[in-house]
Assembly symmetry: C2
Homo-oligomer: 155 residues x 2
């Protein structure tokens, strides 16, 4: 059992296809929370992906939530809100720290404006990019996968 | 800490893109081992994927191993051998139980011939398909992903 005291660390994402960048991001989010921290992950709703990315999600929200909940650093997984709401998530999770990935700059800026406007006190941490030769975003991974399968099937 | 006694359960796969079918397969493999079991996962080498699937792996073996090792049911992750070898894996892992997924029928048949020829005693379990409306194989997942991204980018 993980210790249930300590910092509550919040991370979020769509987690459409799990890639090494995701698992490193979540492991690092848990680590920066320090000993006894609890990592709570908000998985984006299908509706939010449609609105933000202008396309269907690759996997449905329940499947994405299920996969994220199976990762070792993750203590708790919840779905976001429709419509998207920092407010509801903050009330629900009550984090001490909110962690953003290197590719979540816009989301982080929106979040900073949100906490300033509400006068909320919460630690905000932005994690760097993990250097890797492997694809570290969903779109990069799919492009690579589609290329490889095309080549494979034409043999 | 997980208990270190009990059955040693071996599962294997390429784990190219993690999908809900993978995580359910591994959770079920750990469960059929019973209390205190230890799940050891063999991740296919890049060379083995090239030979068996006739195409490049989507992610390299180290990245695939890293992702699998981050899944909660997994106690230990190792890479397979080049050339592919049941013998070396069996010597290394010494499992009490070997688990196969519904889509590993050919591999299971090969393995049955292998243990018969060596007179090895090991429990072999084949797990069923998990019913889901989500893609449950790598190729299905990539097809769906490529379709969705194509549509998204043409908007």
């Amino acid at each position: 059992m993980r210790e249930k005291t300590g910092k509550r660390v919040l991370a979020s994402g769509a987690f459409e296809l799990l890639h090494p960048g995701h698992v490193r991001f979540l492991a690092e989010a848990k680590r920066v929370g320090g000993g006894g921290s609890r990592l709570i992950v908000v998985v984006a709703r299908d509706e939010t992906i449609r609105r933000r990315k202008g396309r269907e999600p690759i996997l449905g929200e329940e499947a994405r939530k299920e996969m994220v909940s199976m990762l070792k650093p993750v203590d708790e997984t919840i779905l976001g809100h429709v419509p998207f709401s920092f407010e509801k998530v903050m009330e629900e999770v009550k984090p001490n720290m909110v962690v953003f990935g290197y590719d979540q700059e816009n989301l982080m800026r929106e979040f900073m404006r949100f906490i300033e406007s509400r006068g909320l006190s919460v630690e905000v941490v932005r994690l760097g990019k993990f250097s890797s030769q492997e694809p570290s975003s969903t779109s990069e991974l799919i492009r690579r996968a589609a290329e490889i399968l095309d080549k494979g099937s034409s043999r």
